[in-house]
Amino acid sequence: MNVTQLSLFLENKPGRLQSALKVLSEKNINIRTLTIAEVTDFGIVRMIVTRSDEAARALKENHFTCSVTEVLAIEIDDVPGALSRALETFNKHHLNIEYMYAFTEKIDDKAVMIFRFDDIETAKKALIDEGYHIVKKTEIIGE
């Protein structure tokens, strides 16, 4: 049920992101979503891709530093206040979010947000109990 996210270390230098993406395209790996968190000198690229193991391997072979992280994809109603309510729920259950970002596509007309919790299993259980729908990995990567 967890979604596998690829995190990649990149320096803030021209052309670096492009050369990482080239490695993936050569392996015919499709990027379902991509977001960059950056500070002055470096950034962390977070991606959800098809065939994540193979993608990680290819990046490492090309001397990129990357890691694989489990995240949760959660359906959020596409109406005002829905995200805020979701965050309230996390708060109530003392679930710590390390970071979050939006998935690029809607699924079944609903928005999908990706969350990285510090304790993914506790978070999952609490959210299911609260009636949230956790999107399966297969739905996200389309396989």
Partner: protein, 434 residues
């Protein structure tokens, strides 16, 4: 302890002994070696003026190039009929340096190696496999006679032929291994690759004395866990005697120097001034009992510090920190002496790993700027910005407290630091280019 009386000598008694022996050694060098006579005379120092150990500051240094310039026997202080052994260090640059030993010198050498073995917990019951090279290099034969002196059994296999080394460890029941730390790691790699059924833990091997090259705490942990033994650092220089100048005891924190035979000082490599106990600098050796080849204030270029810590093992001799750097690498940043090895030590203590790094020094206006680039490998990478920021903050704070300078820490991608022949270029000093 092999020689309890000497190794636990009271500090004041030791200083008295060192003073008496130093007087002899200075005179011996001055009267019998033209090089020393000239060098003492040139600086206006005469052995008669030596009234206390505080006068050491006045005695001129002996440099590595002086030894090369006097190749082969120019620094010998006894006639050749008294010299019973020669050794030579190959040296990667320029001429070799040659050292000679009288019968008495060999006795002293055997004694300090016997102490070394005892320091590492060895004794007459041990079977010691000497896998240092035998020959002109001081490692093999040096350790060999010390093993005999302590009454243990020596297996003089010399270096190389890993298959046979392993066979002997097993068949002879070797209890202690003597070789370079990198060869020990080599042996474990060989076992992992070629002999999956060989288990060091099922042999009688329980300790090792490793030296002849600088090595890190990480290498110690690796050897200890892969061989299931205690690994001790032994240290020496052929110019001073060979292995047996100092060694680690059961505490594995610093190496006791055999101060009744070798007088040690730490100096500022830039000014030559003697530094107070505890400060980091270049270690300088003077032999106190050596007959054939006395060395007077020999500048080793090795960087360390000296200290007393009331060691639990009971030895009163001063300790030197594991040598990890050379004074040739010293940088002066905003007036502070900095050794790349200190920065490396900070990186390692933080992350328990040896990341590739590079130190870049530049000057903006009158101020030196120091930047440390650290390659982010998988062990220190995190998918959270926060964690990576904490990492660079931690490194910056430790550098500030250890070196007293503030550095900019930049995290970079793997392979961004230039390598030369596979080794990362550690320092780029842009000040020199301006």
């Amino acid at each position: 302890m092999f020689n309890k009386e000497s190794e636990t000598l009271q500090h004041s008694k030791l200083k008295e002994m060192q003073y008496e022996r130093m007087k002899w050694s200075l005179r011996h060098a001055y009267e019998n070696v033209p090089f020393y006579k000239k060098s003492f005379d040139d600086t206006g120092f005469h052995p008669d003026q030596f009234r206390s150990l505080d006068d050491m500051q006045r005695v001129p240094f002996l440099m590595k190039q002086d030894m090369r310039a006097n190749y082969p026997f120019g620094l010998f202080a006894v006639p050749m009929e008294k010299v019973v052994r020669l050794h030579s260090s190959s040296g990667t640059t320029g001429n070799a340096t040659v050292v000679g030993y009288t019968k008495n010198d060999l006795d002293v050498w055997g004694e300090v190696i016997a102490r070394t073995i005892a320091c590492a917990g060895g004794g007459p019951k041990d079977i010691i496999q000497v896998a240092y090279g035998y020959g002109l290099f001081t490692g093999g034969l040096g350790v060999h006679y010390g093993v005999e002196k302590i009454g243990a059994t020596v297996v003089p296999v010399s270096g190389g032929n890993t298959e046979r080394q392993l066979m002997l460890i097993k068949d002879f029941g070797t209890t202690m291994l003597a070789c370079t730390p990198s060869y020990a790691i080599n042996m474990t790699d060989y076992v992992e690759k070629n002999k999956p059924d060989f288990d060091f833990r099922k042999t009688k091997l329980r300790s090792g004395i490793f030296g002849a090259e600088p090595w890190t705490e990480q290498m110690r942990r690796e050897i200890e866990s892969r061989m299931g033994i205690d690994a001790y650092d032994i240290y020496g220089l052929s110019e001073v005697i060979g292995p047996g100048v100092s060694c680690e005891c059961s505490e594995k924190s610093g190496l006791h120097v055999f101060e009744d035979h070798f007088y040690v000082e730490v100096i500022d490599p830039e000014t030559g001034e003697i530094l107070p106990e505890g400060e980091m600098g270049e270690i300088v050796y003077t032999s106190l009992t050596k007959e054939a080849c006395p060395v007077i204030r020999y500048r080793s270029r090795d960087i360390t510090r000296l200290y007393h810590d009331g060691c639990k093992c009971g030895r009163s001799f001063i300790k030197m920190e594991k040598v990890t750097g050379r004074s040739d690498d010293m940088l002066i940043i905003r007036g502070v002496n900095v050794f790349p090895s200190q920065i490396e030590a900070v990186l390692m203590e933080n992350e328990n790993t040896e990341p590739h790094y590079q130190i870049i020094i530049d000057r903006t206006g009158a101020l030196d700027d120091i930047e440390i680039m650290v390659e982010v490998n998988e062990r220190i990478f995190s998918d959270e910005i926060k964690v990576l920021n904490q990492l660079s903050n931690r490194i910056r704070q430790r550098i500030q407290s250890v070196l007293g300078i503030s550095a900019k820490i930049t995290l970079v991608e793997p392979r961004t630091i230039a390598r030369s022949e596979g080794k990362a270029v550690r320092v780029i000093d842009k000040r020199k280019l301006k």
